[in-house]
């Protein structure tokens, strides 16, 4: 049924740290790898070695430049995958029941055998988290690596989403956001975790941790107490360069 559950027992999701993400795209690659080799239709590429390559990805990293009122601009890398919204508009629009939100853990999934590829759910998602696979002609989206997190065949350390496991700067955290004592909930509370596009009313489960304030070296007058001693002694060239300078001036 594409009606949403009135509540979910847990809210599994990601907390993404915009302060520590270095924009390496490792999560993009590991997500593509895991989700091509495991559950569901593989994430295809079109014209991958040609002039106009494109392909299906469930996770993408944008980069933004943020210019404060005064001082230097700041670069923020911004990973974006499905936010597993509580009030998911992508689910209710689906005519076939292929899209659904699970009552037990809140994960939003697509049953690829029922999807007619109408694309309406991708229109309804404000975050661009759904992409139609051009080869399989079905809708693909982040599964929260549902085939890893409950997978007893994997070592326990690997029972987290591929993107979380791979991130070299620990910018992606996985956990239950309905439990106020979970690590992710405490991280959100400590760092002021936020919703994207709150005005769209989607009530996303995933939270984003804003970048911490940066040092403002460009705004401090004295860079170093030793700076006065490092001031240039003379601006005039000496020796051979000095002679050359004078000789050229005379010409």
């Amino acid at each position: 049924m594409t009606t949403l559950p009135d509540r979910t027992e847990r809210k599994l999701g990601l907390v993404i740290d915009l302060d520590t993400c270095v924009g390496c795209h490792a999560c993009v690659v590991s997500c593509k790898g895991w989700n091509t080799q495991n559950y569901g239709a593989p994430l295809s590429d079109q014209d991958p070695y040609g002039a106009d390559p494109s392909g299906t990805f469930l996770n993408r990293v944008h980069s933004y430049e943020v210019q404060p009122e005064a001082g230097a601009a700041q670069l923020v890398h911004f990973p974006k995958s499905c936010l597993h919204c509580d009030n998911a508009p992508c689910v209710t629009v689906c005519p076939t029941g292929a899209s659904y939100k699970r009552r037990e853990d809140g994960i939003v999934l697509v049953n690829e055998d029922a999807c007619i590829g109408c694309g309406l759910c991708a229109w309804a998602c404000p975050y661009g988290a759904r992409e139609m696979d051009m080869a399989a002609k079905v809708m693909k989206k982040c599964t929260l690596c549902v085939d890893r997190i409950y997978n007893d065949n994997l070592p326990e350390v690997d029972r987290v989403p591929a993107c979380v496991r791979t991130c070299p700067s620990n910018a992606r955290h996985f956990g239950d956001l309905s439990d106020p004592d979970s690590d992710v909930s405490q991280l959100v509370a400590a760092r002021g975790g936020m919703d994207l596009m709150p005005e769209q009313g989607t009530a996303p489960v995933n939270k984003y941790l804003p970048p911490r304030p940066k040092d403002r070296l460009d705004q401090t007058g004295d860079i170093d107490v030793l700076a006065p001693f490092l001031a240039p002694v003379t601006d005039q060239p000496k020796g051979f360069l000095g002679w050359l300078d004078k000789a050229l001036d005379r010409l």
Binding site: S54, H62, P95, A114, G119, W123, C125
Partner: protein, 290 residues
Amino acid sequence: MHPAPSIIAFTTLSGLGFGLMVWLGIGMPGSTGIVAFVFFAIAYALAGGGLIASAFHLGHPERGLLAFTQWRSSWLSREAICAVATLAVMAAYAIGRVFLATDWVPLGWLGAALALGTVFTTSMIYAQMKTVPRWRSPLTPALFLCLSLGGGALLAGQVSWALILLPLAGILQLAWWWQGDRAFAASGTTMASATGLGGIGSVRAFEPPHTGPNYLLREMVHVVGRKHAVKLRAIAFVFGYVLPVALLLLPFAHVFGLLAVISHVAGILASRWLFFAEAEHVVGLYYGKR
């Protein structure tokens, strides 16, 4: 949004076809026999042709029957049910009018109501989209319904009704354009709210996540066609509304009626093209585009 020819053809033609069915269902005109056959055939060609065109848009049309199951939440599912119910009820009604020269009035009215319901559910697929502020307005169903009834009256030869409904649809069209041009700003969704970084300063897209195109950009961030929007609006308005009304006001001749229909369809196709090409999806903000 990407102006897919299949969806433009579908919404325009089936809107007209279902509009014609409304008039046929309430017995205006109440012709029987071969004349009724021609009217019903035109209505079915338009409505059914539109539906077939829309099926081309699907990745897996062979699973189409599943689209009838989610009417509790999905406007697309409701549309599918209404459309098929209309075609079935009107077919039974048409048998009475064409072959038996009888008018099963309640059946006709039921078919007319279902036909209107189909147009309404189609319009709600767009009007429900919070992600496309230009579409999310009560004016969207109002415009679709009025256009369908006006165009249907034109096809059904209900000149006096067409002379009321087409100017009304023209006014709704202008109002829809006017509110649509302000809708994105009024929605409150900006790059600042999309990234949550607005508190630090002004946000600019520095580098996109991918160097090539992708599904999102192709489907949702269609900016190329917009530069001719003003010219196309003028064309849509003159051909879709002004010219048909002017032709209907001339002393009656079949050729003028035919010209009015052709001009109307051409104008509405242009308007529908703009309906998609000018619609800005909020996901464009993540790419620093509109």
